[in-house]
Every structure is written in structure tokens, then in C-alpha cells.
């Protein structure tokens, strides 16, 4: 019997555990994605608009935001998780389980996504922005009706990258008690030397990432008119 035959044979026994693990991972990642959009998108917009030559130049604000983002970006996720433990307890009342993991996941992904948003927005043709000024559009309209819609395909692609990064972070969070697929791979696979669990979680992770990427590609194509 090959390894994979055996894996298939053990599926009924592993199935419920894997399903729960997958659901936990999806739960963590979805909430973290939501918070990442809520905080990361405005942050990315501000990084662009406060820059010199932007819609609302404010070099001091921009310098502070840039520094904050860089600090967030330079912390390895595993360190960041530990560093924000007290904040996590403050916000969720615990440092264990998928809900607690949403806090460090969001904090880790916001600066990442903000930089990707910044890059996408910078690619919007300056001529189009000038045309909007010439039309008499107020700044909020230029952000809402010109910058963001024009950058939409890039924003979606950036979000997909962020979600994939979040899935990878969530596996790391599993190592310090967040639950989810990472937790199963570490506890069942690594610590109890059960290769079947290890490989089964790998397959689950690959499938989830693949689904996210395909959905993202589909949306990018749908909204790209270049």
C-alpha cells in the first residue's frame, strides 16, 4: 500500500479534525481580511494622498504613517504575535483560539496590504487625476470615483496576496495556540510524528490557497479594462 492509499484510508478518522481545522483557518483569515481592508485601505490611500504632489500633501503625516507601516512590515510575524499578546488579551479576553489570533493577524496584514494599496494607487495615470481636477471634482470624489476604481484590479490582486499571506500567518499562529490547520500540522503532524496529518493539512492549505487565488484572478479579469 502506498502512502497516499493509507492517507485515503485514514481520511474518515482524520476528516472531522481536518474539517474543523479548515473552518477555524477560514474563520481567522476571513475576519482578519475584513479588518485588514477596513484599516489597510484608508492607510494606503493616505500614504498616497499625503505624499508630495498628492491630493492633500502633508509631509509630516506621511512620514509618521510611513514609519508605522515600516515597523509593522519589519517584524517577523511570529515575533509580532508574541509582542501584541497583551493587546490581544485586552481586545478578546484570551490569547488562545482562533478569535484571539484575529488580532495579530490583522496587525500583521494591515501594513502589508497598505503598501500594496499604495503601489496600485500610484499606478493610476496622473493625467486622469488632472482631468478630474479640471472637471471641478472635489478631493473625496477624486479618491472615490477616480483613484480607487481605476486601481481596482491592482487592489484586488493585492488583496489576494494579502489573504494568501494571512493563510500562511494563520498556520504560524497555530503554533502558539490559535487552532486551525497550522495547529493540526504542528501538534498532530510534527509533535506526534503523524505524517498523514501533516500531508493532509498541506493538501487542505494548498486547496484553500488555490481557491483564493483563482477567485482573485477571476475578479481581476472581470474588473480590468485596460
Amino acid at each position: 500500500m502506498t502512502f497516499f492509499d493509507e492517507l485515503a484510508e485514514r481520511l474518515p478518522e482524520m476528516g472531522p479534525v481536518l474539517l474543523l481545522g479548515t473552518l477555524d483557518t477560514v474563520y481567522m483569515v476571513l475576519w482578519a481580511t475584513l479588518f485588514t481592508i477596513v484599516f489597510g485601505l484608508p492607510l494606503g490611500v493616505l500614504l498616497v494622498t499625503t505624499d508630495r504632489g498628492g491630493l492633500t500633501p502633508a509631509p509630516a503625516v506621511r512620514a509618521v504613517l510611513g514609519a508605522v507601516v515600516n515597523v509593522g512590515r519589519s517584524l517577523p510575524f511570529i515575533v509580532l504575535m508574541v509582542a501584541v499578546l497583551s493587546l490581544t488579551r485586552l481586545l478578546t479576553g484570551t490569547t488562545l483560539g482562533p478569535t484571539a489570533a484575529i488580532v495579530p493577524l490583522s496587525i500583521g496584514a494591515v501594513p502589508f496590504f497598505a503598501r500594496l494599496v499604495e503601489t496600485s494607487l500610484r499606478e493610476v495615470d496622473r493625467g486622469v487625476i488632472e482631468a478630474a481636477h479640471a472637471i471641478g471634482a472635489p478631493k473625496a470624489t477624486i479618491v472615490g470615483k477616480v483613484l480607487l476604481p481605476e486601481a481596482l484590479p491592482g487592489l484586488i490582486a493585492g488583496l489576494v496576496m494579502t489573504v494568501v499571506a494571512l493563510i500562511s500567518y494563520s498556520a504560524m499562529a497555530g503554533a502558539i495556540g490559535a487552532g486551525g490547520l497550522g495547529d493540526i500540522a504542528i501538534r498532530e503532524g510534527y509533535q506526534r510524528f503523524n505524517d498523514y496529518y501533516l500531508w493532509a493539512t498541506v493538501i487542505c492549505l494548498v486547496v484553500v490557497v488555490q481557491l483564493v487565488q483563482s477567485l482573485g484572478d477571476l475578479l481581476v479579469r472581470r474588473f480590468s479594462h485596460r
Binding site: 493625467g127 488632472e130 482631468a131 479640471a134 471641478g136 477616480v146 476604481p149 481596482l152 474588473f223
Partner: protein, 321 residues
């Protein structure tokens, strides 16, 4: 319609100042097409952007349709900009929106209701001949079609003035001709005042009533095209009708800005007994008039009298260069 007085624009860079515009006075009468021509870096773009305050002039006053734009800011300036349309060299269309939705954009900004927007967009697309492309995206259009969309968008809020920033510079000659024709038609049919900047002399020749030559931030020459062509030493004449350099003795450059019924050249040889030899030149229609500029060799005992006769008949006679 457009009145700008004493426009200066100075850009402050880290270690020095760059004077992009150094005292420009511009008057564009209602209903005329005014062209500013010059090399890149002459300050044309700065001038155009100062007219709708996309750039605020360092000094000077800009009035458009009686309103002093340089005195406005914020919401009042944005409102004033809605009566000034602008067409861009690289079209500047929103790639995420359809053609119809691009044309509707200024109307959205102005707060026009959905039904009214739809009606107006229909009219505008018809005006520029793109009714069948309403649902297309800009990426699916040719350059000329994109510029038509740009023009429709510029006209959406019924502006009195249209600013054109090198509108045809990214287009091939044939498309350029059709876009210029469209601008000329709009100028005539809607009474639209057009201020355009270009580096192509041909644009001046084809559609401009008035023109200015800009160099290093100032107007070297400015006025009605036909008047300028009839002015001795005119830069515009030399630029629109370049004559080959000549070292032939007794050559003169003659310029005329209307057609003549009498056969001037045969008259010359008959009455003054001089030899007339055309060395080079061009005859074209400018602002609806037949304009010609020729290098002519005139020899004979009565040469001075012959040249005097030409000048009396209203031709401009200058020494050939």
C-alpha cells in the same frame, strides 16, 4: 472671454528657481479659436494650466467669462472650472468606465440627476459621432475615438470655453485632421471659444483665428493670424511659410493675405519692364483666406518702382533671407 494679465509662474526647486512663464498677457475674444504655438519647454502647458488654475500663477490675474478665477479657491473655484472644458493630449479617460460613463462623469460631479445625465450623454455622443460606442471601454477605441470621447466629456457641462492641451499631438495626420475639423465645427456651431496649445504649426494654419508664438515663457508675437502674416518680420509668417534660404541677388520675399483678381506678376513685367523669377514659396488657405509667401527675384532698371507697386497693392515686400 479669456483675459489674462501679467501671468508669471515660478517653480521653486531645491537649489534654484525656474521661471516657466515670465509676464504673459493673453486675450481671447468670444467665439474665436486661439492657438499658442511653441517648442516644448516654452511654457505653453503652464499657461494653459494657469487659465483654469490647475496651476496657480505666481503673479497675474486670470478672468474667464468675466469671473476672476485667480480670486477664487476651494468650492467656488471648482464650480467655476465646470464652465471651462479641457481636452488632454493623452485623452485622460477613466479606463474603468464605459464611454457613456466617462462622458457622464462631469455631470455626476455637478450633481445632475440620472435621467438628465443619460439624455445629455446621448446628445454628446451623437455630436462627436460615437453613439454606437456608448457601452465600449476606452481601451477598445482608437486614438481618434478616444479623443472624441475626451471632447464629449469636456463639453458635458456646457462650457463657454474649451482648453485643448496638445489634443492632436498623439494622433496620426488623418485623425488629427478630423479632430481639428470637429473642434472647428464645435467652435462654429456652439459658439465655443477655444484656447489650444500645440507645437504643430499646421494646427494654427488649419483652425486658428488668432495665435501667439511662445518662447522661453513669453509671447514673441500675438494677434490675429492674418494680421500677423501681413506684418513685416513676422515670426509666424516665417514659421507657417518657411522659405528656403537664398543668396540669389535682388531676391525679395513677398507675402499676401488675400486673393487678387488682377494678374499682379504680368502687370509687373508689362508696366515696369522687369524680369520676375519665382524662386520658391507656398500658397495655402489660412483662416479662410488664400495666403501666399514667395521668394521672388526681381531684376531690371525699374526694380524699385516695381516693388513699390507691389507694396501699394497691399502685398508685404521684405528682403529675402
Amino acid at each position: 472671454m479669456i483675459d489674462a494679465v501679467g501671468l508669471r509662474k515660478v517653480y521653486r526647486l531645491k537649489d534654484r528657481e525656474v521661471v516657466a512663464m515670465d509676464g504673459v498677457d493673453l486675450t481671447v475674444s468670444p467665439g474665436e479659436v486661439f492657438g499658442v504655438v511653441g517648442q516644448s519647454g516654452a511654457g505653453k502647458s503652464t499657461l494653459l494650466r494657469c487659465v483654469n488654475l490647475l496651476e496657480r500663477p505666481t503673479d497675474g490675474v486670470v478672468r474667464v467669462a468675466g469671473e476672476e478665477l485667480t480670486a477664487l479657491s476651494g468650492a467656488r473655484l471648482r464650480a467655476a472650472r465646470r464652465s471651462i472644458g479641457m481636452v488632454h493630449q493623452h485623452f485622460a479617460l477613466l479606463s474603468s468606465r464605459t464611454v457613456a460613463s466617462n462622458v457622464a462623469f462631469p455631470l455626476e460631479v455637478a450633481g445632475v440627476g440620472r435621467a438628465e445625465r443619460g439624455r445629455r450623454v446621448g446628445e454628446l455622443l451623437e455630436l462627436v459621432g460615437l453613439s454606437d460606442k456608448a457601452k465600449a471601454h476606452p481601451a477598445q477605441l482608437s486614438g481618434g475615438q478616444k479623443q472624441r470621447v475626451g471632447i464629449a466629456r469636456a463639453l458635458a457641462s456646457r462650457p463657454k470655453v474649451l482648453l485643448s492641451d496638445e489634443a492632436t499631438s498623439a494622433l496620426d495626420p488623418e485623425t488629427t485632421a478630423s479632430i481639428l475639423e470637429l473642434l472647428r465645427d464645435l467652435n462654429r456651431e456652439l459658439g465655443l471659444t477655444v484656447l489650444l496649445i500645440t507645437h504643430e504649426m499646421d494646427v494654427i494654419k488649419r483652425i486658428c483665428d488668432s495665435a501667439a508664438i511662445m518662447e522661453r515663457g513669453v509671447f514673441r508675437e500675438s494677434g490675429r493670424v492674418l494680421d500677423l502674416l501681413g506684418t513685416p518680420g513676422s515670426l509666424l509668417a516665417r514659421s507657417l511659410f518657411p522659405l528656403p534660404a537664398t543668396d540669389v541677388p535682388d531676391a525679395v520675399a513677398i507675402t499676401y493675405t488675400r486673393s487678387y483678381d488682377e494678374p499682379l506678376m504680368s502687370e509687373l513685367t508689362r508696366r515696369f519692364d522687369v524680369d520676375v523669377n519665382v524662386l520658391g514659396g507656398a500658397v495655402e488657405t489660412v483662416s479662410g483666406s488664400s495666403v501666399g509667401r514667395l521668394n521672388v527675384q526681381v531684376r531690371g532698371a525699374n526694380r524699385e518702382a516695381a516693388l513699390g507697386y507691389l507694396a501699394e497693392s497691399g502685398l508685404l515686400v521684405e528682403a529675402a533671407r
